[in-house]
Symmetry: C2
Subunit: 337 residues, 2 copies
Amino acid sequence: MLKIAYLYGKFGTMIPESTISEALGSLFTNIEFQKEPAGLYDPLRYMIEIGGKRIRPRLCLTTYGIFADQLGPHILEPAAGLEVFHTFTLIHDDIMDRSPLRRGHDTVWKRWDEDTAILSGDVMCIDAYKRIAQAPAAVLPEALKLFSKTASEVCDGQQMDMDFERRDNVPMKEYMTMIGLKTGVLIACAAQMGALIAGADKWSQDCLYQYGYYLGLAFQVADDYLDAYGDEKVFGKPIGGDILNCKKSWLTIRAQEKGAEGIIEALNAPADTPEEKAAKIARVKALYDSVGVADDARKAIGDLSTRAIFKGTDARMGADGHEALRAFANSLVGRTV
Amino acid sequence: MLKIAYLYGKFGTMIPESTISEALGSLFTNIEFQKEPAGLYDPLRYMIEIGGKRIRPRLCLTTYGIFADQLGPHILEPAAGLEVFHTFTLIHDDIMDRSPLRRGHDTVWKRWDEDTAILSGDVMCIDAYKRIAQAPAAVLPEALKLFSKTASEVCDGQQMDMDFERRDNVPMKEYMTMIGLKTGVLIACAAQMGALIAGADKWSQDCLYQYGYYLGLAFQVADDYLDAYGDEKVFGKPIGGDILNCKKSWLTIRAQEKGAEGIIEALNAPADTPEEKAAKIARVKALYDSVGVADDARKAIGDLSTRAIFKGTDARMGADGHEALRAFANSLVGRTV
């Protein structure tokens, strides 16, 4: 399905980051989907083209590159499958969340219609499996088991997230479980998948799964934090989106936990005009600030990220591997801590 | 995932139909899905419980039983996966087609809501893959390739079907391509999957794929025919549903092809009261009758079914196998020819 040349790690046994970046660029520039019926496959190309950070395939190739030195379709296709699966969940989530924008572009249901978004998402989920199925036969049953378990957990997470919308009091523990399912497990799966396909031992695979899981949590808390406190140019979307969408983020739940009075009312308040919107964002952020949740968030991100590295570096690998895990974590959440 | 005892074919090398029926009964009575979040998994249980004819797993076990004599999870789980996948497509199709009823019960989006139907469908598609992945490791890559190819073709078929709704003139050839994708390929996949997992040679697998494909076409034309000319008690749903839903069926396309004047206007005419509905059904059926499409449909079903058997019996198997293929075809479309 992908036109891609075999690429080789050129410096010793570990595949260098530059080779991985080059492979990723080629992977998604040349990605191919079926051509007909166009109504079904155009949204797939559109969603891949509008980009994203390719976190999951990059992590998959990074952990693979710690244990193996040769890239090829046996790893590139499953890595692409993780991104395709992630994109499928975004298409369906955007319908359920009624989100009009994604990465600054119209969402699929908004640009086409809901039916197209449902069916194109379905075919994208199937496409993800086609790519995962290209893992080497020797590890295929395990790769599929890991992927399918993860995939259904991501759906569980989305269901929990929707259930939370109807509740005004979600304990932090439940919130962390939800983001663990919705975001953590797929990043964990990516980290383990690379090691599994590279032939790493089970212990190391498990360590890398844990690395991905805690890194995924750190990444989601950072996303919640940056939504309120980030730099719009760096963050890539307008600040205050979660607040305007009345979305209970890590910040809200932490503020509630610390007794910030009126936080739920402030979050649920309607805001239509630009002035009302700005006032709502300011009011909610003032409540966050009154109990110091921004500092708490930065600390939580740092702790989760440290925990991730602690878990990951317990895997059987050399100092180069440790450095690769640290560098990846830093690229993902370093700007917030 | 399934609590099921190993079952053995008791009479010679072929597994008798009674053993297959017993295994199927047990398979879907005891089928297990995850328990939590309940909002996500209740619709899966609901859809499996309201039943259906289990055509796809039955055919899969039937072709398996021609080449192998021992049932077990390696074949029962993939067979169940085919039914789970089919059910997933029904859940999503019902949203897109705005169908309120399925097998006499509320559809999932009607009973719960659209978001639940989208997400429960997604998790059901993933569950189907979990079951297909339990095929023996030796044939797993092939089984997955067959299944994923089929699964995306089914989506292509649904897209074509929706595209047809906006067109007033669909040639019969395109209609047959559409039902081939929407219905034919999954039944074909079921027939091949059983043979593949039983270890049958590639030639025989291909013959059985063709058998399933043409049988699927016959089954869909029969469904279109019975929707207008069937006995409500036997058919299991009210007669004239396609007509009231302005759905271009095989009958409409054949009538158009034979120059039945005003057929599209009659089909697209609104009908609200019970009297208007009865009058609309009578008017469309009178137009069908004026050009004799009922006879044509019965002939087409007979021809397709004969062709299916002709293809299937070309596989390398004994007279018992031929008889099993004939009996299955007869049970599926025998009542209409």
